[in-house]
Amino acid sequence: MITVNSLTKRYGAVTAVDDVSFEVKPGQVTGFLGPNGAGKSTTMRILCGLTPATSGTATVLGRPYAALPNPGRHVGVLLDASAQHAGRTGREVLNLGATLMGIDRSRVDEMLSVVGLTDKESNRRIRNYSLGMRQRLGIAHALLGDPQVLVLDEPANGLDPAGIRWMRSLLRGFADEGGTVLLSSHLLNEIERVADDIIVIGRGRIVAQGTKDELLRGAGTTVRATDEQALWAALEAEGIVAQASGSGALTAEAEPAEVGAAAAKHGVALVELRGADGRGLEDMFLELTAADAREEVAA
């Protein structure tokens, strides 16, 4: 369980994290979504006691990270899979971790097999690892101490599609057994497929948070009829606000059931009726990324 309270981090005039509060519950995968440079990594580093906060608090399992005894046995952390000594073997990294945490060496072999690194690969120096292999090693290291909480920063980076799928099922299984997972990504699609709760951050501020269903549902209903004018009239008569969303479809600010009922009452034949599948979230996300994308457009 993770609780972040009014966390702020300033670098001179730049506010990297701005009054951020959220909670990550056990038994769930919580997605931490935001464009690059939004403050995800800074928040996670503060959470793990690596970066001092300007103000605010962050606790893991009810205490500040630095107050956890032997934290590797409680919290599994992967902040940057490339932050390893290039001249060390992957197996040695896990051996060091196991010695420090006071756990049996056999656990190293178990974790290597969980993440799918072979014996031969584990004995190679990390400089020869692909990013995907580094991520797998990092996940093995995070799981080494059999933690209750996982904090993973962009763990899907560099994984092949099969690897991403494997990681989703791994995190799902971990959460289903009661574990707490905080997982960051800059890809909406990736978070959407695994997270129960979503926290969206942009330019250091939380812009949305809630369950995935809430955030996706909030977007309203996509509806389309052969007679568009009749549909407009029917919705207006029932007091449902709607907007044209292109190619003859309307986005109505109501549940699909209400929209359907309104159409039936006024005898409008529909050709399409569905929840507006996350358009709201996607729009918000695109808006957040637009500011960073502007430079590329201008160039």
């Binding site: 580093r45 793990c48 006691g49 690596l50 970066t51 001092p52 990270y65 630095a66 956890l68 005894p69 032997n70 934290p71 590797g72 046995r73 409680h74 952390v77 902040l79 940057d80 490339s82 932050a83 390893q84 000594h85 290039a86 001249g87 060390r88 040695e92 990294v93 060091l96 971790g97 010695t99 420090l100 945490m101 006071g102 756990i103 656990r107 178990e110 097999s113 969980v114 993440v115 799918g116 690194l117 120096r125 995907g132 292999m133 797998r136 290291h141 799981l143 101490g145 059999d146 209750q148 092949d160 099969a162 690897g163 799928r165 494997w166 099922s169 791994l170 299984g173 971990f174 057994e177």
Partner: protein, 281 residues
């Protein structure tokens, strides 16, 4: 047709999946028993930190090179003056190269966490950074002790060989004050390296600063007379030298203490302060 061939996707090496055969991870293996409520001990941390000095290719070669340099010095002595040196002379001959190389162990122990960014892992597993610095100190001092043991061991072998093969005069005398003095010199140098490393958090910078310092003293001391007086109190090379003579006067101890304060204690204090409050990224 435009002549380009579209290759059909095949299950080539790129498509090879690294995912374990049990693609849906059923259950993660657990560690039986309750979770620890005790912090990681300094002994365990020190053991890990010592291992980190030798478990990389660069680290291992550096350690081996220390041994090789010690051996090389003794082999040269073996051939000079028919190898007719006392045991103590053989050991003393290694003091100069060791006092240059051993501090680099301390520098690397401190800076590699930043240059290789392993600090993200190290300080996530032990957030009490002062304790990590303590463990690095213990681990580095152990290395200094080991280098002294190697010098004593190889020195004995060489002297024994010189006596047996080249008919050198057997002289096994070795005073405690000499062994202790040389050891103190190595440990102080090592702590200086650690202090420089922690203060600069940059490997090349710390090594250059450490190596250039004595030269700067020598050059400035030669040019400016009052600086050559100051060097007697502040140049570590000058103040540690008498440690090998086997006898230290009160003034020499005071000079050693003063230079140690400036080049060992201050860098260590500043470096520790810097590491405690800096951001690990």
């Amino acid at each position: 047709m435009n002549g380009t061939t579209l290759t059909t996707p095949t299950a080539g090496p790129a498509a090879e999946s690294r995912t374990p055969h049990h693609a849906s991870v059923k259950e993660l293996p657990r560690i039986p028993g309750p979770r620890p409520t005790k912090p990681v001990s300094l002994a365990t941390l020190s053991r890990v930190e010592w291992r980190k000095q030798v478990d990389t290719r660069a680290g291992l070669w550096f350690m081996l090179s220390i041994g090789l340099v010690v051996a090389a010095v003794m082999v040269i002595m073996f051939f000079v003056q028919q190898g007719n040196h006392s045991y103590g002379d053989y050991v003393a001959g290694t003091a100069m190269p060791l006092s240059i190389l051993v501090p680099i162990v301390g520098i690397l122990a401190a800076t590699s966490e930043w240059s290789q960014r392993t600090g993200l892992t190290t300080f996530a597993l032990e957030p009490k950074r002062g304790k990590v610095i303590g463990a690095k100190t213990v681990a580095s001092v152990v290395t200094a002790l080991l280098s002294m043991v190697v010098a004593l061991g190889l020195g004995a072998a060489m002297h024994g060989l010189a006596v047996a093969v080249r008919g050198a005069d057997a002289d096994w005398s070795l005073t405690w004050s000499f062994v202790g003095g040389m050891l103190l010199m190595l440990v102080l140098g090592l702590l200086q390296g650690l202090g420089f490393g922690l203060s600069l958090l940059n490997t090349p910078g710390a090594i250059v600063a450490y190596l250039v310092l004595p030269t700067v003293w020598a050059i400035l001391g030669g040019m400016v007379s009052w600086l050559s007086d100051a060097a007697k109190w502040l140049d570590m090379t000058a103040t540690t030298g008498p440690l090998l003579e086997g006898q230290m006067t009160g003034e020499q101890w005071a000079q050693l203490g003063t230079s140690t304060l400036v080049w060992v204690v201050l860098p260590l204090a500043f470096g520790t302060w810097r590491v405690l409050r800096s951001e690990v990224k």
